[in-house]
Symmetry: C2
Subunit: 387 residues, 2 copies
Amino acid sequence: MSRDVAIIGIGMSKWGELWDRSLRDIFVEAALAAIDDAGVDKIDSLYIGNMTAGLFTGQEHLAALLADYLGVAPIPATRVESACASGGLAVKMGYLEVALGMSEVVLVGGVEKMTDVGTDQATYALATAADQDYEVYHGITFPGLYAMMARLHMEKYGTTREQLAQVAVKNHYHGSMNPVAQYPQRITVEQVLNSVMIADPLRILDCSPITDGAAALILCPLELAKKISRKPPVKIIGIGHATDSIALHSRDDLTTLKATERAAQQAYRMAGIKPSDLDLAEVHDCFTIAEICVIEALGLVEKGQGGPATAAGMTTLGGKIPVNTSGGLKSKGHPVGATGVAQVVEIVTQLRGEAGPRQVANARLGLTQNMGGSGGSTLIHIMEVAS
Amino acid sequence: MSRDVAIIGIGMSKWGELWDRSLRDIFVEAALAAIDDAGVDKIDSLYIGNMTAGLFTGQEHLAALLADYLGVAPIPATRVESACASGGLAVKMGYLEVALGMSEVVLVGGVEKMTDVGTDQATYALATAADQDYEVYHGITFPGLYAMMARLHMEKYGTTREQLAQVAVKNHYHGSMNPVAQYPQRITVEQVLNSVMIADPLRILDCSPITDGAAALILCPLELAKKISRKPPVKIIGIGHATDSIALHSRDDLTTLKATERAAQQAYRMAGIKPSDLDLAEVHDCFTIAEICVIEALGLVEKGQGGPATAAGMTTLGGKIPVNTSGGLKSKGHPVGATGVAQVVEIVTQLRGEAGPRQVANARLGLTQNMGGSGGSTLIHIMEVAS
């Protein structure tokens, strides 16, 4: 029924505290880089992943605005939102439009400008991803939600404080090799354990930062990609998308990310692969505990084994399945609506063999997992080098 | 390549100032009504049109939240935004998912809860649909933008103050026959002309109100609709989606809605019809001048003739092409993200012959036009009774 879809262009802005530049500036930088990379001269449709530009910058109507500012109006332009999974959702929607044959060349962008407001306002804006009436109203914010998940994981599975720290250490090691990373500094377990407490047991170095940044992709039919792409096209072979209760208190088990489990099953089935076939993955490490729960939900490790596997180096570059070679949200940064698109940028970079010092040897098959809130929504994509 | 798509269920909440109910309450009311109307017992995917729940209610991550609250999680749930055209955009996305074969039964909802904040905050939230950096920062809000369009239309085409008022009089007449309308009161030209000045020449009775409300649709493949639908399925035969500059000052002509012109051309071509084939239309009358510009951009009247045609009754129930039989944004209300979905609800109601006292005789072919900002984005859908 539908057409195969390939990614032929990728682009990123620098990620960090970009006080001298606006949301539209950083989007256009990433979009132009993707357009140059693909070598296309025409875009048929635009999808934008953005969580909450209304609260961060006072700007909605964002996709039409960015189409205008990029100079591609009057093309159709669609903004999608699923909290911190907005970028992954934009990738899915771009895929649908190309697969259906409604457009040939689609630009998928993710962008968030988070540092133009104070920390209190940023915390409020991010908390809109939780249940406003039943969670946020009572005073909780995201570090607190993930801290509860961490406490229970430690209690049930014996996960240690040091194992949580190993996630951060690994991702900063990876990020030290990524030129666009916000915090490319290498860190040690001791530094994590001695950093400022945020929500017990999570410390500041367990948390992803507040970031300005954008990422972009060019999607087209695989057949067209084979004709026009100057680099190996990367085919999207699996997609998963699922939801769970937004409020943590409504779940059977705080340590199980059901939306990720379900989305992964969909994506593996569509791709015809199993977790052990993967060469690498980019996952949603908004907090160190999140990466541990996610690699379990993806079936990369047994339930409860995320901590020991991380400490043993299984997910480090050179290990059995490198996770977050980009540096992840922790080191590369987390401009919330851009993250899901940037995860795909990293997988494409790796599958093309363009990742330089952080290249995964013989990378053929990669996965991205992008998550909203405390796991209330999840988007998964599986990609391979087109044969 | 793709499947035909039909609408088999419609639902609305009451529209108005619903101070005793929350955003999720009114969405669930509309969604359950649509599910009952369609007689389905399973939803595969959810799309939500919402402009700015972040600013109105402090809640993002809205689609996953509403899937959860409706009790349909873990299905995929996607929120889309294109300012006041968010509802129309949700309809398009639902169409894509069914046409592609990714889902069988899709729930498309639109919702906005606007009255939980004060008027200043509501005005600020709505202004995020304009260009924040180049328009809003300098103090303009939407009545001012549309007032400039009205002034130029009067100057160029001789449109009169009375003709603007006729749009409001007609839509309140239609709305008086719609049980869910926020302001079902009939009004006179004199009342419009003597109402409070907002932005010269626009008075309060030229402006659509601030509204709480929700609307919902059930979409499925036409083949399935023919098997399971208890009512005549309504087929989506044309879709148009285009953008224009967000900022009014960037346009060649303030009285020409280029995104609507372009989206209309796309939709007419896809449907294989011309404007004169239409039996009725629901259009975006956020201000009286908007309806006049829109019916010109749709080709229902010659350029500049929107005012005289309205005054002559061409767009009134019983006229050549009734426009906004629901009451339109003006009388029915304008919960911004819900409007585009509610427009489709009205067309389906009419095509089924269920519109009661406001029924258009022999309605077979209808169009919806839903617009973001001052025309920066537009979504158009054309529907017919499935044969």
